[in-house]
Structures are given as C-alpha cells and as structure tokens.
Symmetry: C2
Subunit: 102 residues, 2 copies
C-alpha cells in the first residue's frame, strides 16, 4: 500500500476521468511536463491549480485545500524526529493567534 500524495491524487482524478496530461495541463495553464512532474512528486504544485482542479473534477475546494496544505506541512517535517511535537506546538500557536482574530 502506497502513501497517497497530492500529486498521485491528481493523477488518480485525471485517469479516472480519462483525461490526458495535455488536456489537464491546458486547463491548469502549465506545461504538460510540469504537470507530469507534479503528479510524480518531482515538482511541488502551486496553489493556483486548486480552484481549477475543483472546477474540472467537481471536488469540494475545501477538501482540496486541506489536502494541499497538509502535504506542504508534511514536506517540512518529513524525517524529523520531533515533527509531531512541532505539529502540536504549531497547532497551539495557530489556534491562539486565530482566537485573537488578528
């Protein structure tokens, strides 16, 4: 069983919809080789593609954003021994600064 990434998720969506790279890349307004690399985690996706993906595949945009962000977070702490502690501290800080509705 393989860990799903944002890239592999896009690939799955695309393939399920029988859409070639060429076409999705056109929608996303990027080179198809860039999309190929994103799907294979060789390049990191930009957030600009999220609303487009949401429209093209009719996926809830919030779900996409959460997937996208959590992958970015995980990228920062991969292989870090104290990643979990860091996540918890981040959560605390994030909640707190939100509560002060900055």
């Amino acid at each position: 069983m393989e860990q799903e990434t944002f890239g592999s998720y896009i690939r799955k969506l695309r393939e399920d919809n029988k859409m070639p790279l060429r076409k999705l890349a056109a929608y996303l307004d990027i080179d198809q080789s860039t999309l190929s690399k994103i799907e294979r985690n060789e390049r990191r996706p930009t957030k600009e593609i999220i609303p487009i993906l949401s429209k093209v595949f009719k996926i809830d945009i919030k779900d996409l954003k959460v997937k996208y962000l959590s992958e970015k977070i995980l990228y920062e702490i991969q292989d870090e021994k104290h990643g979990l502690d860091a996540l918890k501290v981040a959560e605390q800080t994030f909640s707190y600064s939100k509560s002060r509705k900055k």
Copy 2:
C-alpha cells in the same frame, strides 16, 4: 504583547548574553547582515544554525528544533482559513507513517 518568533528568540538569547551580531554570526558562519535579517524575520533561518545555537547558549537542542520546525509549519499556513484542519490531517498522516517505522 508581541508574538515571539524564532528570530526574536535568537535576538533575545543573544542580547541577554551581551553578544554582538558580529560574534554570533561568526559562530554560525554566516554574514552578520544575514543574522540581522533572521532576527528580524526578514529571512528564514536554516536548520544548520540549530546545533550551534544549542551549544553557544546551552539550550536543549530538542526545544530549539521544535521551535524551529513549528515556525516553519506556521509559515506555510499563515492566513489560511483551513490551516487547523490541515494541521490535523498532517498529524494523522505523520503519526501513521511513523507507526510503520519507515
């Protein structure tokens, strides 16, 4: 009351120890202007400085790493509406992949 950042934390340590930028920068093997920028959150610190800071100021390295990482995480989700959800998903995924002692 001001939110403490990794940068302002370094500055505090440095000033409490009456150490000039010049000197700490030398220890860290970076330009003093780079350190100045790091302390003022104008640049992001690299992780290489962590063990050195730990030695110079005798701070537990784990605490430093957690501070450093959580700031990196927060940087990714700042101003994001769904940051908290993303953090929780990340936590789940991180715990899970760790449990499979990859």
